[in-house]
């Protein structure tokens, strides 16, 4: 798994920061992130690999329901809705 731990932070982190900032301030961006990540590609200058990453976020819904605990105090499956 690639995890550069902050390497080359400025440009790459800037994309993430902008996505977070936009979602925080615009309900429409949240909806796009949820329903049509393709629509974010141009706006945030996402590469194909980054767009694929967004798309694959949906795969985790099913996975997270399987014994992933978000709080360390209980043996639960994710509380995803």
């Amino acid at each position: 798994m690639s995890a550069e731990h902050g390497g080359e932070a400025s440009a790459d982190r800037e994309k993430i920061r902008r996505v977070i900032q936009s979602v925080a301030n615009e309900a429409e961006t949240l909806k796009q992130l949820q329903d049509s990540p393709e629509s974010l590609k141009e706006r945030f200058h996402l590469t194909d690999a980054e767009l694929d990453a967004l798309r694959s976020g949906r795969l985790h819904i099913g996975i997270a329901r399987m014994e992933v605990t978000f709080v360390n105090d209980m043996t639960i499956t994710a509380q995803a809705r």
């Binding site: 995890a3 993430i16 949240l30 976020g57 360390n72 043996t75 994710a78």
Partner: protein, 305 residues
């Protein structure tokens, strides 16, 4: 001289349980080590800590009443920094310790080592031998296979985390940017590893834990869902690369639609990027090292659970 062990217990509205917990911790010792029990009452409304006492040798109880709720990670920090013992045993208010727990601690503690106690459910046969990280959503999974002897594990559960006080201070305690509840403990464990310490499961050291019943758990999670979502996102943004971060963002946007916008807003106004830069410049290892050390894989790419 036997070192003093400081047991740190954050409490919030658990007045009916914390006295039993303290009694168990004190009574189950098998050595003559001195024990300091630090109870941090996180602004309880039920007077949790007002009448705590233990009549027996070698035990002192120190209670700290916080006027405003600070959340579990900061309450743990408060207790740890108030402690005077050489060793910290960080646990919860609703536990019982196994017989001879202090001996297991003293026999296995080392410099730069965190002990992960085995967590047992009081109502079932469940035992958890530390936890493993689930990337990219930064949750955890219990290790259910009994290890043979003392074995490295990724994460020590918050219910049973033991380490030298000097190591706690060196690592920097729990991330005070984590709000109220969730994700702070696995993040602390990851940071211990990245600081150069190790975490080992000591199977014999058992903490009996009262896991919440379903209704109670649902209420608890509902109340704290925003902080859980925020803290998991913060955890991921501190360590993950861009691709995994983007996966994580979309996952939480889909899985927690009612909390996503507010959680993102909290992140935006937080110190998460400064914290990331700070960790990058101060930790001995990077997250890639941790991933390789434990063969941590993105669960979606791994293809199966």
């Amino acid at each position: 001289m036997t070192p003093l062990i400081s047991v740190v217990i954050p409490v919030r509205n658990e007045s009916d349980r914390v006295a039993t917990t303290i009694r168990s911790i004190a009574d189950m010792r098998s050595t003559e080590c001195e024990l300091e029990i630090i109870v941090v009452d996180d602004a309880s409304a039920d007077g949790s800590c007002s009448r705590l006492s233990y009549k027996g040798p070698g035990v002192s109880i120190s209670t700290h009443q916080l006027k405003e709720r600070v959340g579990v990670p900061r309450a743990r920090n408060y207790g740890a920094y108030a402690a005077s013992g050489d060793l910290l045993f960080i646990t919860d208010a609703h536990v019982r310790f196994c017989g001879g727990w202090d001996r297991y601690v003293l026999e296995n503690i080392e410099q730069n080592r965190v002990i992960a106690a085995t967590v047992r459910d009081v109502a079932s046969a469940f035992k958890g031998y530390g936890c493993s990280l689930a990337v990219p959503f930064m949750g955890t999974r219990w290790n259910k296979t009994p290890p043979v002897g003392t074995t490295p594990v990724q994460i020590a559960a918050c219910i049973g985390t033991v380490l030298e006080r000097t190591l706690f201070e060196k690592v920097g305690g729990y991330d005070s940017g984590m709000i109220l509840y969730g994700a702070a403990e696995p993040e602390f464990s990851v940071r211990c590893w990245l600081t150069g310490a190790e975490i080992v499961s000591v199977p014999e050291l058992e903490v009996y834990h009262r896991f919440k019943l379903k209704d109670e758990r649902d209420r608890h999670v509902e109340e704290l869902r925003l902080s859980i979502v925020h803290n998991c996102l913060r955890f991921g943004l501190l360590y993950l690369d861009e691709v995994n971060s983007l996966q994580m963002l979309r996952y939480f946007a889909l899985a927690f639609p009612e909390q996503a916008q507010e959680a993102f807003s909290l992140l935006e106004s937080s110190d998460v990027w400064q914290r990331r830069d700070f960790l990058k410049s101060t930790l001995t290892y990077d997250f890639d090292w941790f991933s390789n050390r434990f063969d941590v894989k993105n669960l979606a790419k791994q293809g199966a659970l």
